[in-house]
Symmetry: C2
Subunit: 357 residues, 2 copies
């Protein structure tokens, strides 16, 4: 049995196969999305997420097919002319490119690969929306809470949208300081892919309604007013991934039982031992050098010419790391550090890496 | 154990729970969408569908989150100014409304509820796209092959898009006479919801590229050129519902083993005995009176004041019919007739209904 350390789709959380089995046994896999039983599942998932992540009660939670879809829908619903994208890797750049594809005059501010934005020089952007990627899956660079707060202070009126695709449930986000946060379930929530989760505050709804009133198209079944209209009934606009929403409601319940504090502590412990192992290793080192920018959930190792050898060595012991991304495909390895990866697994991983020294 | 006769999500095809079990056991539920193993699944699903449904080799098959998404994407990618929608129920009307939401100057031609369009008066529409709903899930009205061919003959240049959401795999469609066909998997394919299947010909790709060249936004990750670019590698633009695509590849293989001819014959047999039972019943009658317009896959019964009583009687025997749709919710019942509903089940259903006479 191979353990999947790729940053997404990643290892399933250990309870997921049993939840799925129950879903098939009890008819949930073919449940009508207009039934009371579905509404109860929707409510359990959204209320559970609010409790787990301390999301304010007036924020809304919607479901899409993917986080990629949320890139598109957030631009369509929240931007009339221009958004500003803080780009520090391939995924934050793709969010920017989607804004261009949708005809917006958007701009990007770039940080060098593997580094972060200087918090000393945050300007007031002349923009409707600032897109921040809390955790850049391609490079393992993470924005600090302090940085996000400073962007908010300098930009009190712009909508701030935070891509937390590969970090949640780990980071403790002050949701009152951002307007929208989103993630997908095949990473930190350890689920099969096919579901995006979009959290928005009332300012986002107002903006979408304002665009609509101006005659600007904000899309159809997944525009914010339509999503809200259905979510108020604990329903969705379309026939959704019912099984996915059910599995999410179960995993959130599992995470609540474990406790978010413990999940965060274990994530930090696992990140600490892996960064320590990489820093003292003879064949590899952390790609992100600035400790404050080092992601706790996607840990990227520079391995130079040794990447393929280290990867096959780990795989032969049942540990599958992710390749590097893009131009770093052959010289880096990426290690997901999600709740599905136990402390024991991480200790074994670090032991294995130690034997390569 | 209740058998689900609702027209979607409907009863799971009997092999699906075992396929899902295997997917979890063998790591497919957390498989990377950039792996060779995923590419093989994508290829098996699309090639299997082409074989099962006799889709021409130069047509492309893409995956989305839902058929609702295909309503949106087909308008965005295939219509610059105006589409024409043949509306004979709530779902064909929703497709029309989505075109309006996307800012198109679209028109609709309406047939009375439960009836079909007269094939004698098909005009040449001044339109870029003609939207036909092969099987209207809300009313159980189905378009004949002859009607579709006549629309084509009168309109050789317009793109014809066929919504076959609740009819495939049953109908034998001449794909060379339409430009695009789509469906969702939670109906005739007996799968959990969360996946739409979009079939397009090269004319659709050309039209999307033409709009793009004119500077018109055709969306981002799910526009046709991007879908095609990825599908050529047996991949998807985003992290998709991998489990759904895998289950589809398995169900298509099962259907190929059974044979499309047998599936069609059994569908017709089951439809014939249910329509016969309804026609001779004292408490209910077929809603669609014109035999040529009667759907074989969604059979709608007018039950007047008896609907609730008939529904609970059937449910007490383990048969769950669907309610009527919209204004007919309390006076009609809908029966899905999909491959998941065996001949034996339909014979039992007809027997049960007979006892109510």
């Amino acid at each position: 049995m191979q353990i999947n350390f790729t940053p997404g789709p990643s290892q399933l959380f250990y309870t997921v196969p049993d939840h799925a089995k129950k879903a098939f046994k009890e008819g949930i896999a073919s449940l009508s999305h207009r039934s009371k039983a579905f509404e109860a599942i929707f409510q359990k998932a959204t209320e559970g997420l609010k409790e787990l992540l301390s999301i304010p009660s007036d924020y809304h939670i919607f479901f899409t097919g993917s986080a990629t879809e949320i890139w598109e829908k957030s631009i369509q619903n929240l931007v009339e002319n221009s958004s500003t994208h803080l780009v520090n890797g391939a995924f934050s750049n793709r969010y920017y490119e989607i804004a261009l594809q949708l005809g917006k005059k958007s701009q990007k501010i770039e940080a060098p690969l593997g580094q972060n934005f200087s918090s000393l020089s945050i300007p007031t952007y002349d923009t409707e929306l600032i897109a921040l990627t809390q955790n850049e899956t391609s490079t393992g660079v993470s924005l600090t809470s302090e940085f996000i707060l400073q962007v908010r202070e300098k930009n009190p009126t712009a909508l701030i949208v935070l891509d937390a695709v590969s970090s949640l449930p780990y980071p403790s986000i002050d949701y009152t300081k951002v307007d929208s946060v989103f993630f997908s379930v095949q990473k930190g929530f350890g689920m099969p892919a096919g579901l995006g989760v979009w959290i928005v505050n009332p300012r986002c709804i107002e903006k979408a309604e304002k665009l609509l009133a101006k005659g600007i198209s904000i899309g159809s079944y997944h525009n914010l007013p339509t999503l809200l209209l259905n979510a108020k009934k604990n329903q969705t606009s379309e026939t959704p991934n019912v099984l996915g929403i059910y599995l999410l409601s179960c995993v959130v319940e599992d995470f609540l039982r474990i406790g978010i504090k413990k999940i965060r502590q274990e994530t930090e412990y696992k990140a600490a031992i892996l960064y320590q192992a990489l820093s003292s290793h003879t064949l590899m080192k952390p790609f992100v050098q600035d400790a404050s920018a080092q992601s706790k959930t996607v840990i990227v190792a520079d391995c130079g010419e040794h990447a393929a050898r280290i990867s096959s060595y780990l795989s032969s012991h049942g540990f599958n790391p992710g390749d590097g991304y893009g131009e770093k495909k052959k010289s880096q390895l990426r290690f997901a550090n999600f709740p599905a990866h136990s402390k024991e697994l991480y200790e074994q991983l670090v032991d294995l890496l130690g034997k390569l020294n």
